[in-house]
C-alpha cells in the first residue's frame, strides 16, 4: 500500500509516521517554498507540485492528482486544512480509483454547508442554537432576525471553518456591519460569501466529541476534548477529558455525537463540536470531517492511534475496534506553538530558527516539522509545533506542560510560547474555569521570579559579550604579533 499525503508541516510528518508504523510507503508533495521541508525528507518519495502560493500547490487539485498517478499511490490522506474538506477533490480522488482517507464526498458536502449540518443535527434530535435559516446576502439584512433570536448574535460563514468569517454583533447596526465584513472574509477564505446568524451564548465552553464511523451505520465515540481556550475562534490549548464535565452530560454529549454520525452514515474520523452553556445545556455547532489538529490528546488518553486506525479503516473498510474497548485514562493537554506575536495582536512572524530545543521526557510529545536552521515563512499556517503532555491526573499534566513549555526554546523568531505559559499557570486555567471568551480579557501576570530571571540574563549576556570581546582582542594581538615576528625575521635576513 502506498499513501500520498496531500499536506505539509507537522500533520504531514505525523501521517508519514503512521505509514511507517503500518509498513506502508509514503509519498510527500511539496511546493517551491517547501523544497527542504521536513515532510519532504521524511517521506519515502516526494513530488514537486507547484509554486509557493497554496492556490498553485497544496490547493491545486490537478497537481496533487497528477502526483498520485505518477507515483501510483493507492490512497490519499488529505490531513487538515487545504483540500481536506473539498468535496470536488474527494470526488476526483475516488473517480481516479484512489482511496480517499476521509469521509464520503457526500458527507463532506453536507458538513461543509453549516446550515445543512444544523438541519441534519436538529432532525436527529440534537439541540441546535436558535439561528436564522435565511441567506443573508440576498437583499438587506432582515433586522427582525436579530430581534427574534435576541442579541448578541454571531454572524458565521456558511462554508466556514478554522474560525474564519465569524463576527459578533450586539445590535441591529453592528449586525449590518458584521454581515458585510464576515461575508467579505468568507469570500476571501472560502470563495463563498454566504453567512448565517446564530445566537451567541456566553459563558459557554467549547466541547467536541471524536467519532469514527465505517460508512455502514457503525459509529464509535472516542472521548471528548475541551477546546475553550480560543483566541478569536482559533484554538490555542486543548484538553481531554473536559475538566469537571458532569458524567451524565458527557453521556448525553456522546449520544448526540453518535446520532449526528448515524444521520450522516459517517465514514472515517470526524469531530462533532458542541457549545455547553452554564446550565449544562449543550448545542450542536458543526461537524469537522477530517483529522483535527488536536487529535493527539485523544490518542494519549485512550491509547488509540487515531491516524493508524483511520488509515487501516480506509484500507480494509471495516472497524476492528469496539466501543467497549475505548476508555480514557489520565489527562492530556495540547498547546499550539504558533509563529505569531501575542504582543502585536498576534501578527504572523517569520524568521530563521537559529536555535531549537525541543522538550522531551515521560509523558511529553511534540508534533512538529521544525528543525534548526529552517526558515519559517508567512506563506502558510502559523502553527509550528504542538506540545502535548499526558499525566495520571490533571495536576500532573499541567505541571508537566509548564515544565515542557519552559524547556521549549525556539530562537530566531517570535512565538506564543511565553503566552501559553502564562495561560497554563493562570488560576482560571488551573481550576478549569474557562469559557470561550477567556482569552479576550486575559492579562498575563508577571510572576515574581521573572525579575530575577531577567537579572540573571543581563549578567549572562554581559559575561558572554565580555568574553567574546576579549577573545577577539587576543586573536588580533596574536595575529599582529605573528606579523611583527615575520617582519622582524625579514629584517633579520639582511644581517646575515
Amino acid at each position: 500500500m502506498k499513501i500520498l499525503i496531500a499536506n505539509r508541516g507537522e500533520i504531514a510528518v505525523r501521517i508519514i509516521r503512521a505509514c511507517r508504523d503500518l509498513g506502508y510507503t509514503s509519498v510527500a508533495v511539496y511546493s517551491e517554498r517547501d523544497r527542504e521541508a521536513l515532510h519532504t525528507r521524511y517521506a519515502d518519495e516526494a513530488v514537486y507540485i507547484g509554486p509557493t502560493p497554496a492556490s498553485q500547490s497544496y490547493l491545486n487539485i490537478e497537481a496533487v492528482l497528477a502526483a498520485a498517478r505518477k507515483t501510483h499511490a493507492d490512497a490519499i490522506h488529505p490531513g487538515y486544512g487545504f483540500l481536506s474538506e473539498n468535496t470536488l477533490f474527494a470526488e476526483k480522488v475516488e473517480k481516479a480509483g484512489i482511496i480517499f482517507i476521509g469521509p464520503s464526498p457526500a458527507s463532506i458536502a453536507l458538513t461543509g454547508d453549516k446550515l445543512e449540518a444544523r438541519k441534519i443535527a436538529a432532525q436527529a434530535g440534537v439541540p441546535v442554537l436558535p439561528g436564522s435559516e435565511f441567506n443573508l446576502n440576498e437583499g438587506s439584512v432582515p433586522k427582525a432576525i436579530g430581534a427574534e433570536i435576541g442579541y448578541p448574535v454571531l454572524v458565521k460563514a456558511v462554508s466556514g471553518g478554522g474560525g474564519r468569517g465569524i463576527r459578533l454583533a450586539g445590535n441591529d447596526e453592528e449586525l449590518l456591519q458584521m454581515v458585510g465584513s464576515a461575508s467579505q472574509e468568507a469570500k476571501l477564505a472560502f470563495g463563498d460569501d454566504k453567512v448565517y446568524i446564530e445566537k451567541f451564548v456566553r459563558p459557554a465552553r467549547h466541547i467536541e466529541v471524536q467519532i469514527l464511523g465505517d460508512g455502514a451505520g457503525n459509529i464509535l465515540v472516542i472521548g471528548e476534548r475541551e477546546c475553550s481556550i480560543q483566541r478569536r475562534h482559533q484554538k490555542l490549548i486543548e484538553e481531554s477529558p473536559a475538566p469537571g464535565l458532569d458524567k451524565e452530560v458527557r453521556a448525553h454529549l456522546y449520544e448526540a455525537a453518535r446520532q449526528v454520525g448515524l444521520a450522516l452514515q459517517y465514514r472515517s474520523l470526524g469531530t462533532v463540536e458542541f457549545l455547553l452553556d452554564e446550565n449544562q445545556n449543550f448545542y450542536f455547532i458543526e461537524v469537522n470531517p477530517r483529522i483535527q489538529v488536536e487529535h493527539p490528546i485523544t490518542e494519549l488518553v485512550t491509547g488509540i492511534d487515531l491516524v493508524n486506525t483511520q488509515i487501516l479503516l480506509a484500507a480494509s473498510g471495516c472497524l476492528t475496534l469496539q466501543q467497549e474497548q475505548i476508555h480514557m485514562r489520565g489527562t492530556a493537554i495540547e498547546a499550539r506553538v504558533i509563529a505569531e506575536d501575542p504582543e502585536q495582536s498576534f501578527m504572523p512572524t517569520s524568521g530563521q530558527v537559529s536555535y531549537l530545543k525541543i522538550p522531551s521526557g515521560s509523558g511529553i510529545r511534540v508534533d512538529s516539522a521544525l528543525y534548526q536552521g529552517m526558515y519559517i515563512s508567512t506563506d502558510y499556517d502559523s502553527l509550528v509545533a504542538k506540545l502535548i503532555v499526558w499525566g495520571e491526573d490533571r495536576t500532573t499534566a499541567i505541571r508537566r506542560m509548564l515544565g515542557a513549555l519552559e524547556d521549549f526554546n525556539i530562537a530566531g523568531l517570535t512565538t506564543d510560547l511565553g503566552y501559553l505559559r502564562d495561560i497554563v499557570r493562570s488560576e482560571d486555567f488551573l481550576s478549569g474555569q474557562v469559557d470561550t471568551m477567556y482569552l479576550e480579557s486575559f492579562q498575563s501576570v508577571e510572576p515574581e521570579d521573572a525579575q530575577k530571571l531577567q537579572r540573571e540574563t543581563a549578567l549572562a549576556v554581559a559575561l558572554y559579550i565580555h568574553n567574546k570581546l576579549k577573545q577577539t582582542a587576543a586573536l588580533v594581538n596574536k595575529e599582529s604579533n605573528q606579523w611583527r615576528t615575520a617582519a622582524w625575521r625579514e629584517q633579520m635576513v639582511g644581517f646575515y
Binding site: 467579505q184 504572523p348 530562537a411 549572562a460 559575561l463
Partner: protein, 185 residues
C-alpha cells in the same frame, strides 16, 4: 559605597575594569567585570561562563546552580537571548562605546504593516480625530483581514496608503499624532 575598591575609578586606577550596560524590557542593568570578579548593579556576585558550542550556546554558572543560554545577534548591540522560560531582546553596550550611542528612532505615531498585504479599506483621512482602538486601515494578507487600530486617541496626521495598494513589511500606512501633542500646538 557598595564596593570600596571602585574608589578612584574615575581617576583611572582600575584599568582592567570593563563595564557593560544591559537593557532588557526597559530596565537597565550595569555589569562590571574585572578578571574573575563580577559585579551587577554594584553588588559582587559569583558568575562563571562556559561555552557549549561556537553558535551562541553557553552556560552561566552561579552559586545556586547552572543555566543554559543561547544568544543571537540581531543588529548592532542588540541580541536575542533565549533561556529556559524566557526569550528577550537585550541591548548590551560596553561603557567605552557608550558615547557613540545611536538615537533610537521611535516613531510611535506610525502604523506600519507587519507583513506584506493589500490595503482593502482606509477608514480615516488626514485631519480626522480618532478614538483609542478605532479601526484605521484593513489589510488583507494570507486570506485574512487584519484591522489596524489606533494605539491612542489622536488626530490623523497623514494617510500614506490608498485602497487597493500593496504594502511590504514595515511600510507606514497611517501616521497619528497624540491628543496631548496636538493640544500643545
Amino acid at each position: 559605597m557598595a564596593h570600596g575598591r571602585l574608589a578612584g575609578t574615575d581617576g583611572g586606577v582600575l584599568l582592567n575594569m570593563d563595564k557593560y550596560h544591559v537593557s532588557i524590557n526597559d530596565k537597565e542593568y550595569q555589569v562590571e567585570i574585572d578578571g574573575e570578579r563580577v559585579w551587577i548593579d554594584g553588588q559582587e556576585v559569583y558568575a562563571g561562563i562556559h561555552f557549549l558550542n561556537d553558535d551562541g550556546l553557553f552556560m552561566l554558572e552561579r552559586d545556586e546552580g547552572k543555566r543554559e543560554f543561547h544568544i543571537k545577534p540581531r543588529e548592532e548591540d542588540v541580541y536575542q537571548v533565549t533561556t529556559r522560560g524566557l526569550q528577550v531582546e537585550t541591548m548590551v553596550q560596553p561603557e567605552r562605546k557608550r558615547g557613540k550611542k545611536r538615537e533610537v528612532k521611535k516613531d510611535e505615531g506610525s502604523i506600519n504593516a507587519p507583513i506584506p498585504g493589500v490595503v482593502v479599506k482606509v477608514l480615516v483621512a488626514a485631519g480626522d480625530a480618532v478614538e483609542n482602538n478605532q479601526v484605521l486601515v484593513v489589510l488583507e494578507s494570507m486570506k485574512m483581514l487584519m484591522e489596524f487600530r489606533a494605539p491612542f486617541a489622536g488626530v490623523v496626521e497623514k494617510v500614506v496608503v490608498a485602497m487597493g495598494q500593496s504594502v511590504e513589511k514595515g511600510d507606514g500606512m497611517v501616521v497619528l499624532k497624540k491628543m496631548a501633542q496636538v493640544s500643545q500646538q
